[in-house]
């Protein structure tokens, strides 16, 4: 399946891009995607716990199973206001 991964704020700086479409095996959980990012980017290696996670613009638990076409975003600590 394919999901769209969005990068914001510090994660956009680290990934060097705003979004990408990635191919994942069925049954992949949000936390698995986070671990994949940690493996790709040394700056994230130390962050075992994923930040808040959103699927299709809604906060979800990190163990949420992804579905084909999902839009996934890891939400660094928010600092609006």
């Amino acid at each position: 399946m394919k999901v769209r991964l969005l990068y914001f704020a510090v994660l956009r700086d680290i990934a060097g891009k705003g979004e990408e479409v990635i191919e994942l095996p069925d049954g992949t959980r949000a936390a698995d995607v986070w671990n994949r990012l940690r493996a790709q980017h040394r700056a994230l290696a130390g962050y075992e716990r994923p930040p808040m996670t959103a699927i299709n613009e809604t906060y979800v638990a990190a163990d949420q199973v992804l579905r084909d076409g999902d839009e996934v975003a890891f939400i660094p600590p928010v600092a609006g206001g």
């Binding site: 704020a9 959103a54 906060y59 975003a73 600590p77 600092a79 609006g80």
Partner: protein
């Protein structure tokens, strides 16, 4: 209407939009870029957002406010992009027949806003730039 803007916020307009003839009180909160944060000088702040999700989260907050404070009318606008010291990043206006609930609602909006709305800020100053809240 969008709760996000790339332009300076017109707080008078926000007040006009919430006030009804039955309202005796209006409480306005302005969040403003200040010249320091945790001991470091700040020259400007760049705000980034997950725009469609931020709109949804703001709408959730406002819906909850109306449930909890049925007499209150509320509007909120957050500005994105680069803001200098003294510029408002957020303006919240709450009107109500009586002042107590206008104060309570306004404070509840900003407290909740800072917890859930996917907006981030990168502070820029003489010592470089940094995403606020990201522990290196």
């Amino acid at each position: 209407m969008s709760h996000l803007t790339d332009s300076p916020i017109d707080s008078d307009d926000l007040v006009k939009r919430v006030m009804r003839p039955s309202d005796g009180a209006c409480v306005v909160f302005e969040g403003v870029v200040r010249d320091h944060h945790e001991g470091k000088m700040v020259e400007s702040i760049c705000y980034d957002a997950y725009r469609p999700m931020a709109e949804k989260e703001i709408t959730k907050i406002l819906d909850d406010i109306i449930t909890r404070f049925p007499e209150v009318r509320v509007e909120v606008i957050h500005r994105l992009g680069t803001l200098r010291v003294g510029e408002a990043s957020i303006v919240i206006a709450c009107s109500a027949p009586h002042r107590g609930e206008a104060f309570d609602a306004c404070r509840t909006v900003i407290d909740r806003f800072k917890q859930t709305v996917p907006i981030w800020k990168k502070e820029r100053g003489p010592s470089g730039e940094e995403w606020v809240g990201w522990q290196k």
